[in-house]
C-alpha cells in the first residue's frame, strides 16, 4: 500500500518517458537494430504487456514465464548466495556474480540478440549465470567464471535459445571448463568460515585452502564427514552447493509454489538413497553410505535446481519419474565405481540427452491403440 502511494505520482512521468523512448527507437531502423531488444527487456520488467486475448479463453492467468524465472532467482539467492557470502566472504561471491552476469547476460546475450536479431532477451540467462559460479570451486579465478558464463549462454543460444536447449547450459559450461582446465577445478576449494564474522572474514572468508571435498576425501581414505557439517555447509565444496539446509528449504518453497515439479527431486533423491542402500548392504564399507551420498557434493543443488530445469526434462509426468530415477542411478554408479568423485553433474547431463527418447517412448506407450 505504502509503495503504491509512493509510486503513483511518478508513474505517468515514467510511462510517457518510456513511450517516447520506445517510439524513437522503433522509428530509427538502425537504433532499433542495436537497442530494440535491450529496451524491450527493460520495458517488459517495468510495464505490463499490451497484448489482449484474441481467441478464447478471453481471460488469462496473470502468471507468466517472468514470474516463474523470478521465483527461481529468489530461491537461488536465498539458497546459495547468502550462505556463500557468510562462509566465503562477500568479496569472493559478489565479484563472481558480477562477472558472470556482465559477461553472460549483458555481453554475450545482448550481442547475440543484436546479431541474430532476436526481439527480446530471455530471463533464463539470469538463472544460468547465477548457477555458473555456484558449481565452480570458491577460489576459481574470475576469468574462469566469466568464460563459464559466456560458454553457457553462447551454447544455449546456438541450440536455439530458451525452449530448445537440450541440456542444462550451466552444467554444460562446467563440463566444458572441466575438459579445458581440469587442474583448476579440482583445486581451489576453501575451508568455509564458521563462527561470528568480523569485518575481515565477512569480506574475505578464511584464507585456508584445502584441496579435498568430502567426496574426494572419502575416495582417497574412506573418511566420512559429519552429516551436520554437510547439512549446514561447514564442509568444503563448490561455492553454491555447501549449505544444503538452505537449498532444501528454498527447493521446498519452489515445489510449494509449483515452479519445481516435486516428482523430480523425490525420484532423484529417493533413487540415490535406495540404490546406495543396496550397494552398502551388498558391498559394505567400499561404497559411500546412503545419507552421506545424499548430503555430499552437488546432489542437493542438482536435484532441486538443475535436474528440475523444466526445458531439459521430459514433458510427461510419468517420464519424469524415470528421468529422476535414471539421474540417481547414474550418480551413484559414477560415484561408487569410477575414478570420478562427483557424478551428479554428469548424471544430469546424460539424462538431459536421454530425456527425448524417454519422452517419446512414454508418449507412444500411453497413446497406443
Amino acid at each position: 500500500m505504502q509503495i503504491k502511494k509512493f509510486l503513483k505520482p511518478i508513474e505517468p512521468i515514467f510511462n510517457k518517458g518510456l513511450d517516447r523512448v520506445g517510439s524513437i527507437i522503433h522509428a530509427h531502423k538502425k537504433v532499433n537494430f542495436l537497442f530494440g531488444a535491450l529496451f524491450g527487456a527493460f520495458d517488459g520488467l517495468l510495464r505490463s504487456p499490451k497484448e489482449t486475448a484474441q481467441s478464447p479463453p478471453f481471460i488469462r492467468n496473470n502468471y507468466d514465464v517472468k514470474r516463474f524465472m523470478g521465483a527461481v532467482l529468489v530461491a537461488l539467492v536465498i539458497g546459495w548466495v547468502l550462505p556463500a557470502i557468510y562462509f566465503y566472504g562477500w568479496q569472493c561471491v559478489i565479484s563472481k556474480l558480477l562477472v558472470s552476469f556482465i559477461i553472460g547476460v549483458f555481453v554475450v546475450d545482448v550481442l547475440w540478440a543484436i546479431i541474430a536479431r532476436e526481439d527480446h532477451i530471455s530471463e533464463g540467462g539470469f538463472v544460468s549465470c547465477l548457477l555458473v559460479p555456484a558449481i565452480l570451486p570458491p577460489q576459481s579465478p574470475l576469468w574462469l567464471v566469466g568464460l563459464g558464463a559466456a560458454a553457457a549462454i553462447l551454447f544455449r543460444n546456438i541450440l536455439g535459445g530458451v525452449g530448445y536447449n537440450l541440456v542444462n547450459p550451466a552444467l554444460f559450461s562446467r563440463l566444458f571448463l572441466t575438459v579445458c582446465f581440469p587442474a583448476l577445478l579440482v583445486t581451489g576449494y576453501q575451508t568455509p568460515f564458521t563462527g561470528m564474522p568480523d569485518l575481515h572474514t565477512f569480506r574475505y572468508g578464511l584464507d585456508a585452502v584445502t584441496h579435498a571435498t568430502p567426496l574426494t576425501a572419502f575416495k582417497t581414505n574412506g573418511e566420512v564427514a559429519s552429516y551436520l557439517s554437510l547439512l549446514f555447509g561447514t564442509a568444503s565444496g563448490s561455492l553454491g552447493e555447501t549449505c544444503r539446509l538452505a537449498l532444501i528449504l528454498t527447493g521446498l518453497w519452489l515445489i510449494k509454489i509449483k515452479v519445481v515439479n516435486w516428482r523430480l527431486p523425490v525420484s532423484y533423491l529417493g533413487s540415490v538413497f535406495a540404490i546406495s542402500v543396496f550397494f552398502s548392504l551388498t558391498m559394505g564399507k567400499a561404497v559411500a553410505p546412503p545419507i552421506f551420498q545424499i548430503l555430499s557434493g552437488g546432489l542437493i543443488l542438482g536435484a532441486f535446481f538443475m535436474a528440475t530445469d523444466p526445458i531439459t526434462t521430459t514433458y510427461s509426468q510419468k517420464a519424469k519419474w524415470i528421468y529422476g530415477a535414471g539421474c540417481g542411478f547414474i550418480t551413484v554408479l559414477l560415484r561408487d565405481f569410477t575414478t570420478l568423485s562427483e557424478g551428479a553433474m554428469y548424471a544430469i547431463l546424460l539424462m538431459n540427452l536421454v530425456a527425448v527418447p524417454i519422452q517419446s517412448l512414454i508418449v507412444r506407450t500411453r497413446y497406443r491403440r
Binding site: 518510456l18 520495458d43 478464447p56 479463453p57 481471460i59 523444466p310 521430459t314 514433458y315
Partner: protein, 340 residues
Amino acid sequence: MLRKKEIPGFKGGFNLLDTYPLRFFNIIEKVSSDTTPGIFEFPPATQKIEHVVVNLCPTEPWALPNWAIFGHRVNVFFNKLKEIRDRFFPAVQYCIALNNKDIETIAAARNFAGSEERVRVFPLDAKYPQDDSVVLSKVVLGVDINFGQEAMSRGIFIMDAQTVSAIYDSCISGNKVDSRFIAVSGTGLKENELVQVQLGTPVEKVLSDRVIEGGKYRVFLNGPLRGKEITDLSYRVNWTINNIVVLREQDYKVMFPLFKSEELMFTTNVHGEVRRCVYCNFCDNICPVDLEPALYYHSYQRGERHKARLYNLERCIECGLCSFVCPSKLELLKIIRECK
C-alpha cells in the same frame, strides 16, 4: 449417504470462484424487449430419459448464482422439483449436483431425497469445469459422453435451477415464461447486477447505462472461458444465455503491474509475453480430462497436425483452462480447435 472420503471429483480443474470473487447486487430489474418476447419451451425429449441431473453447482463466478432463482426459499424450489418429477419423470434416476460449501441447499436436497433410492445427492468441489456436461456426467453417473455429443442422446437430461423453475411455471402452473435472469458482470461495468430480461431483448438494451463510460470493453456471452464474443450488440437474448460478461479491454501498458494484479486480473490482457513452451506441466495438471495439451502445441509447431489427433485430442472438452494457465501464453485452445 456419502462419506467424506467418497466425495467424487475429477483430476485437474481450477477454482475460479476463489480467484475471481464477484459480488452481485441484489437488484433485479426487468428489461423488456421491444418486440414480442420469445417463450420458453420444455426441451423436447429425443430419447428415452434414464437419468435426470439437476446441476445446482455453477463453477464460474460470473455465472448466474443459485440464490437468484431460490430467492432464499430453498424448500419451495425442491417442492417444485418434486412436482416435476412426479408429473414428467416418475421412474428415472435423479442426481442432484451441489456445491459442497452450500450447506443449506445440501440439507434441503437431502431432505428432498429422503430415503428414496433413485434420488442421489452429490456435494461436489466447485472447481471449473465441474458443471460441464461431459465432466458432470462422468463424475455423477460414471458415463462417458463425447465432447459435442448431446447428453440427451445418452438418455441424460441435465437441467439447471432456472430451467427447473421455468418448467414448473410453464408446464405445471400454466404461465407463459417469457423472461429469464441473466447475470451481468465484469470490469467493463459500473456494477455487477442480476437482470431479468425478456427473451428477444437485444444485448445492447441490457447493457445500456451499465457499461463504464469512456473506455473500451468487449462483450462475452456465457463467460469469457467457454463463451463467445459478440461484436454486434443487437444480438437477441435467448434461453441459452446464462450470463453476459463485459471486460475492460486492457490494451495499453501499465507501470509496475506487480503491484496492480488485482485491478489488471479480470481484463482481457494476456499478462505476459508469448514464449516457447517451457515444459512446465501446468497445462496437463489442470486439464480436467487428463490430456497433455503441450503435445498438441509441439505437433502443431512442427507442422504435423495429423499427429496431434493421435493423442486423444477428441476427448478435449474445450474448457480453455490450458490456455488460461499457460505461462508462455500459447494459444493452446486455438491450436486444439485447428487440429481437430
